[in-house]
Symmetry: C2
Subunit: 229 residues, 2 copies
Amino acid sequence: MSYTYQYPRGALTVDCVVFGFDGGGLKVLLIKRGIAPFKGEWALPGGFVKVEESLDEAARRELQEETGLERVFLEQLYTFGEPGRDPRERVVSVAYFALVRPEVYQMRAATDADDAQWFDLDELPRLAFDHPEIVEMAHQRLRGKLRYEPIGFELLAEKFSLSQLQYLYEAVLGVPLDKRNFRKKVQSYDLLIPLEEKHRDGPHRPAQLFKFDPDKYQELKGKGFLFEI
Amino acid sequence: MSYTYQYPRGALTVDCVVFGFDGGGLKVLLIKRGIAPFKGEWALPGGFVKVEESLDEAARRELQEETGLERVFLEQLYTFGEPGRDPRERVVSVAYFALVRPEVYQMRAATDADDAQWFDLDELPRLAFDHPEIVEMAHQRLRGKLRYEPIGFELLAEKFSLSQLQYLYEAVLGVPLDKRNFRKKVQSYDLLIPLEEKHRDGPHRPAQLFKFDPDKYQELKGKGFLFEI
DNA sequence: TTGGCTTTGTGTGAAATTTACACTTTAGTT
DNA sequence: AACTAAAGTGTAAATTTCACACAAAGCCAA
């Protein structure tokens, strides 16, 4: 018996919503399309999946090829497959969301390649395809996850101050948080390792730096611990 | 310029993890494969996506064709795309999870078609492909969602007693819950409409029946309300 | 060196929520 | 009429959340 399938095939792509944080608001990385359709318009980085690679690999490869980004936090988001979402033919896209640290963010912002640029999440330009919908879902997911999983650290430098962490939470969740209560809570889990170093910046009191302890988190998680801000 | 893509294409399928609840434990609906590969083994209901249909439509169609189920709660779960997950060639599968009410569950359990059967979630037979992994993820997702979204009602009859609701939560979450505290909490949201009718069953005190008010939930959700058990 | 600026860092009491816990009511069966 | 089994109900203690204000540190400029 033959293994040939009787169904016609569409194409399969991956698209990545890459978030960055610069201390102010959330940013999203977009690329300017060099080819039709939507040539010259902004779009999410992404592209076709090769037959011999996994979806995650495809997402990482496209991110690397189109934006130069490597070793970022990457997680599958949702698969978009409405017929007609690509004007050419049936294209199903597995969307990912990615979080990058400020070092990376600043690096990419510096190289003024005008075909890859950071935009404020709430001031995005017109986007190709159904990419606005994808970005919207990624934003919702990020907001939802931040409350229950310690992924915010992926948007900060390895060493960060509690104020920086708080600014991040305020930016993503869109609400102001009480400084004392916030610090009490995040420190209560014992997942932040206080470092010797201090962060100095401007003519102010320098801030204690911390780093997140992912191993300890994994260990606690195994015992049913639930991170929650 | 031509719109022909330079990448070879794999096939695209949908697979559904269908959960049912009979007052005892969680059940999963499986079908016996009639064709190779894995002919004669149990597998998740699912099949190939047609070019002109959306992914959701494909999932509903396959469910209908293979199990007769219609009008079920259906939500996209995750997309599985490891090369090699299908021994024939590259097949990417968009997995869904579905929740069915006991009426439906009992109906399907009655028709003793031996090519579609309910199994206890914790006593599943050997499964084809990477379906064990898919079931595992669906179970996790169900557990996670149940705490924060009122989807448990999709596994109960339209009219249900508070005890039935509690048994469901206990079965899915795997922990015993305090009767009084549970009732206090679920009723505090004012999302359950008490009905005139009573449920009688056995030589016991009959139970007050309720139904869930989805409209009110949608309204509250719009105002930032968070359901939580 | 002094005063001013700006950010870090810290504690407490009131209010709200969560938790633990046991007995009465109801209907059916014998 | 007595027995059985599940439904239904309240309170007090413990814990968590929330609101809130001022001293300490370092830099800069006069």
